[in-house]
């Protein structure tokens, strides 16, 4: 379950359980997930507790867009069990990375971020009606190599 095991030094990994009342699109019947975070990395793993093969790699979207902000509407607040006006501090925002055998072709889903209420341990995948955000946004980390500008 470790997300690192790359370096010889022991990475500090934390895990927390989250309840997704609506599941996530495509897996609406799975409600219980576990979030694995490694200290100092903007990445995490979200693994379904009922079915281990259902899991996602998450990234902090601010790494890609520093001003990425999410408006938490009332219906979403209700799913997350937030009290009115409580929103700001207790919500953690993550985006799902889409796998590809070529690391430079991995994309990030900014259209449907994962929101976590870290206080009550509830989660939801929000679908944004904002056209600026793509469900397949390429990672800026590999911008140069994708454009073949190595020289």
């Amino acid at each position: 379950m470790s997300i690192a095991n790359i370096d010889t030094q022991e990475p500090k990994i934390t895990s927390e359980s989250y309840y997704f009342p609506n599941g996530v699109p495509g897996f609406e019947n799975y409600q219980n997930f576990k979030l694995f975070k490694e200290e100092g990395l903007p990445l995490a793993q979200l693994i379904c507790q009922e079915e281990e093969s259902i899991g996602f790699i998450l990234i902090h979207p601010e790494v890609i867009y520093p001003d990425y902000a999410v408006d938490v509407a009332e219906d979403i607040q209700q799913i997350l069990g937030l009290q009115h006006g409580q929103a700001a501090g207790v919500i953690e925002v993550w985006a799902i990375l889409t796998n590809h055998s070529d690391v430079r072709k991995i994309t990030v889903n900014l259209k449907a971020p994962i929101l976590l209420n870290v206080a009550d341990k509830k989660g939801v995948q929000l679908i944004r009606n904002d056209e600026r955000y793509l469900s397949r946004q390429p990672l800026p980390l590999y911008k140069d190599t994708r454009e073949g500008a190595e020289a």
């Binding site: 495509g26 990445l43 799902i96 796998n99 070529d102 690391v103």
Partner: protein, 84 residues
Amino acid sequence: MLVLARRTNQKIRIGEDIVITVLSISGDNVRLGIEAPPSVPVFRSEIYEDIQQQNNEALAGPQLSQAFKQLLKDFQAKDNKSDL
């Protein structure tokens, strides 16, 4: 499929608490107003289907793929660089 003809400003009620109103019609463009309880998610169908498909493509079990291991390494390398 149930088919109902409606004019501008006419409504359709689904169950006790969902109401759909035809707000305006212009050519082949229809604007609908949807009232539903917060527990009922409402999306444009194609967006929801795209996210379902994205989630399927994004599946990663407890074992990390080579590509993600590489990504992790590249992130760490990037961080080390910015520390210097």
